[in-house]
């Protein structure tokens, strides 16, 4: 188990390194004059050169990459081209809000998704099953910026049920903040419910058809006991890894949702940075999202192997 975790962590570190290369490469595909694009076409050349010098964007690419790597370790990614603020601070503050939103969405989606999936599996082939499956599919087929906007109009402007924007008054406690985050979270729930329900359904069906379930039924256990003790535990293992992957992708889905609900989060930060070609923010933000994804999958892997005695105790014999 320890070996396994150590290996997984080592691999994740290698991946992280590659990730940084990819991010750096993408943002430098085209040679560009950073200073010029910040200062605009009217700025005099010496000023542009001075800015390039200050930002280090006149250095060879390798040096710039080294700087990015160093930034990854020290969490010091330089300053935003756009606002001049330290990128680390920007990321920290926005990440916090995104994490709150993602967490809330997660909190809503996972139990719902699992419940939906399991119910669908237990009622396989019935109307209930079809409705759940189709709902999930429809939800994950409509881009979240569309569902989000319709939520705003219906729940917010027409029915006045929820705040339309995630701008909570300063000094709100965490529950008030959650109240403000509920609508954006719902937009995400609609999209991700389907994925999780699908996996949970598939896992449950496999478990239901397995020999050990047959054994349990033949022991004379009640259906409820069979499902609770024998089916669910094994059914949800594969779901965990999907959940982890989705957590990573959740941060990708935040891009649009945060714009619509004006959440001061990482997604919104990245979209604005992208439009402004604010490369330090972009690079750092993309890296952070990659790292979050990796941590999520790493944790899921460890959790799965810990839950799965075959892996956990594999080395013993």
């Amino acid at each position: 188990m320890v070996r396994f975790i150590a290996r997984r962590v080592a691999l994740a570190l290698v991946t992280l390194l590659l990730l940084s290369v990819i991010v750096f490469a993408i943002s430098n595909i085209l040679p560009q004059d950073v200073g010029r694009s910040i200062l605009g076409p009217f700025a005099p050349a010496p000023e542009v050169a001075a800015l390039n010098h200050r930002l280090g964007t006149d250095k060879p690419l390798l040096d710039q990459y080294a700087k990015l790597l160093k930034g990854m370790v020290t969490f010091n990614f330089g300053e935003s081209y756009q606002t001049g603020q330290p990128v680390g601070d920007l990321i920290k503050s926005t990440l916090q809000n995104s994490a709150k939103l993602a967490f809330l969405a997660f909190l809503l989606t996972v139990p719902l998704g699992i419940l939906g999936g399991v119910v669908a599996a237990l009622k396989q082939g019935t109307l209930v099953d079809r409705v759940i499956v189709m709902l999930g599919l429809a939800g994950s087929s409509i881009p979240e910026f569309v569902t989000g906007t319709f939520l705003v109009v219906i729940l917010g402007l027409e029915l006045h049920l929820l705040p339309t924007l995630a701008d909570w008054p300063p000094g709100s406690n965490i529950f008030q903040q959650m109240h403000y985050l509920l609508m954006p979270a719902l937009a995400l729930v609609l999209v991700y419910f389907g994925y999780i329900a699908r996996m949970a359904r598939a896992g449950t069906i496999v478990a239901l058809e397995s020999d050990y379930t047959r054994t349990a039924v033949m022991k004379g256990l009640s259906r409820a006991t069979v499902i609770r003790r024998h089916v669910l535990r094994n059914a949800l293992l594969p779901t965990i890894s999907v959940i982890a992957t989705q957590t990573g992708y959740l941060f990708g889905g935040l891009l649009a949702v945060e714009l619509i609900f004006n959440v001061n989060g990482l997604g919104r930060l990245l979209v604005t940075a992208a439009k402004a070609k604010d490369l330090p923010v972009l690079q750092a933000g993309v890296l952070v999202i990659g790292i979050i994804y990796m941590i999520a999958t790493l944790l899921a892997d460890i959790l799965i192997s810990w839950l799965n005695p075959r892996v956990r105790l594999g080395a013993e014999d």
Partner: protein, 302 residues
């Protein structure tokens, strides 16, 4: 070792050994089609896709108006008013016509992007799964690194740097799909390469290329076809999200995602139809693609 319901034969020359004398390939294909047609969700999916294919081919010829048509004084007409079934957009363009003509973009972009992703992903997946070892380790890390980033995010970053045009959007989305496909294909190859026929091929001295291309590849078309269908759905989804974020297709393309992104900020003014109908169009194709993929999966990967 259970062999399932395989039927024993004993002596050839025995008349009962006869199997239907039709061409084998055709029979197999017919069986697959028959199984597919028995699934209502597959039929629904095919009908929806066929509908859009007809729209795409018909284009301007079947749409009530051309995609560029404008009725400037009837901007944002509600559905069924002023003679526009699905209403008009801010410039007075007929939403129905733009959805019909817009299907051309969708039906070109999504399959090409999906094909690029699936092609490249299959190649990578074959290499990783077949050679394993160092090749796998190195490629797997790269794939993993790509997988750790949401496609929309990398798409945004890349298109901001490259500038967006139809070609770059297709290329970027396609490339970004490759790692995802590679992972699926790799898993399929790993399972396949354990089968004895791969060993048999090696024992008669086939090289890796032959084994990958001629022995393994034909057997993993199931997951690849499924992946392709699923990717088509995601491509539509991704391109429209990119359009929303401002790095997708160019106006005045009637691309559905672009239509939504141009109009979504006006929903709050009560103009829901300009967004709802293209969204439904997107959803219909994505759902149809998924329904087909599901059906294919359960039939092809029996």
């Amino acid at each position: 070792m259970a062999t399932g319901p395989a039927l024993p034969t004993v002596d050839v020359g025995d008349p009962t050994a006869a199997v239907a004398p039709v061409s084998a390939r055709r029979a197999a294909r017919r069986e697959t089609v028959r199984l597919l047609l028995r699934r209502p969700e597959f039929l629904i999916g095919v009908i929806v896709v066929a509908f859009w294919v007809v729209c795409a081919i018909g284009g301007d010829r079947i749409a009530p108006h051309s995609a560029d048509f404008r009725d400037p004084f009837h901007g944002h007409s509600a559905p069924l008013s002023n003679g526009y079934v699905l209403g008009t957009d801010r410039l007075g363009r007929d939403v129905l016509s733009r959805i019909i003509v817009g299907s051309q973009d969708v039906l070109v972009i999504a399959p090409i992007a999906a094909a690029i992703g699936v092609g490249l992903g299959t190649l990578l997946g074959l290499l990783m799964g077949y050679y394993r070892g160092l090749v796998d380790d190195v490629l797997a890390r790269i794939v993993e690194a790509f997988l750790s980033l949401p496609v929309t995010l990398v798409g945004l970053l890349t298109l901001v740097v490259l500038g967006s045009s139809r070609t770059t959007v297709i290329g970027v989305v396609g490339l970004l799909f490759a790692p995802i496909v590679a992972r699926t294909v790799r898993a399929a190859v790993l399972a396949e390469r354990e089968l004895d026929y791969v060993q048999a091929a090696r024992l008669r001295g086939e090289n890796g290329l032959y084994i990958m291309g001629r022995e393994i590849l034909p057997n993993i078309t199931g997951p690849i076809v499924v992946e392709f269908t699923v990717r088509i759905g995601y491509a539509i989804f991704t391109v429209s999200t990119l359009s929303f974020l401002g790095v997708g297709l160019q106006p005045p393309s009637p691309d559905w995602g672009l239509q939504i992104s141009e109009e979504y900020s006006m929903i709050i003014n009560g103009y829901w139809w300009t967004v709802l109908f293209p969204s439904l169009a997107i959803a219909s194709v994505v759902i149809a693609a998924n329904l087909i993929a599901d059906a294919l999966q359960s039939v092809m990967q029996r």
